[in-house]
């Protein structure tokens, strides 16, 4: 559940999602669920000429299992905090 919480802190920020079919979508993270399905708003495709399928789509639901990468801005992540949270989660699982 750690990354679910992590993605919830990224809501309303701009991210780039690369899918396993090589499409890259830039958009504002609108919501996320427990499967890490993502909902992006105001999307734009980085290679619109090659993939014109989503030109008339602004709001999209992406199935979590088909996401390859989510690119984040460096200042969006507090790595120390994330490390602490990871340790805490690992500890609580051991009990």
């Amino acid at each position: 559940m750690l990354f679910f919480s992590f993605f919830k802190t990224l809501v309303d920020q701009e991210v780039v999602v690369q899918l396993k079919n090589d499409i890259e979508l830039k958009g504002t993270l609108q919501s996320v669920d427990q499967f890490l399905n993502l909902k992006l708003d105001n999307i734009s495709c980085t290679d619109e000429e090659k993939y014109p399928h989503l030109v008339s789509v602004r709001n999209i639901f992406i199935r979590g299992s088909t996401v390859r990468y989510v690119y984040l801005n460096k200042n969006m992540v507090d790595t120390n905090l994330l490390q602490d949270a990871t340790r805490r989660e690992a500890m609580s699982e051991r009990k």
Binding site: N21, I23, K50, H53, V55, R58, N59, R63, T66
Partner: protein, 126 residues
Amino acid sequence: MSPLLKEYLNKKVVLVTTSGECFIATLEGFDKSTNLVVSNLTNRFIDDDNTESNILSHVQLMRGSEIVACGLYEPTDQETAGESRYIVKAPTIHDTKNRVKDEHLVWMKVAEEKVHSTTKRRKLTK
């Protein structure tokens, strides 16, 4: 469970599947594993040779594991006039399978080399 698709119910959506197909349909229902019930399924792009917007199926269930993305379809004015859906050649999307072409040949070669190296080693130790 997953309420993310609720806003799309009874609206036109663009669907991308894991095999690289792209459709437009009306979303009728969904569940927590993204299985979708859709109606009036049509191809996203219409090829030059079949200019009619033929409906592929009236109602259909799509398995969640085959879904990549589902976007709300908000056509521009030009598109409601039905122009930009007519593309001479429908552009292709890759699938998500990440398959290596002729992978079995690669592994065959690996297996052959293994056999060679073990026989060589045996000769050396003798």
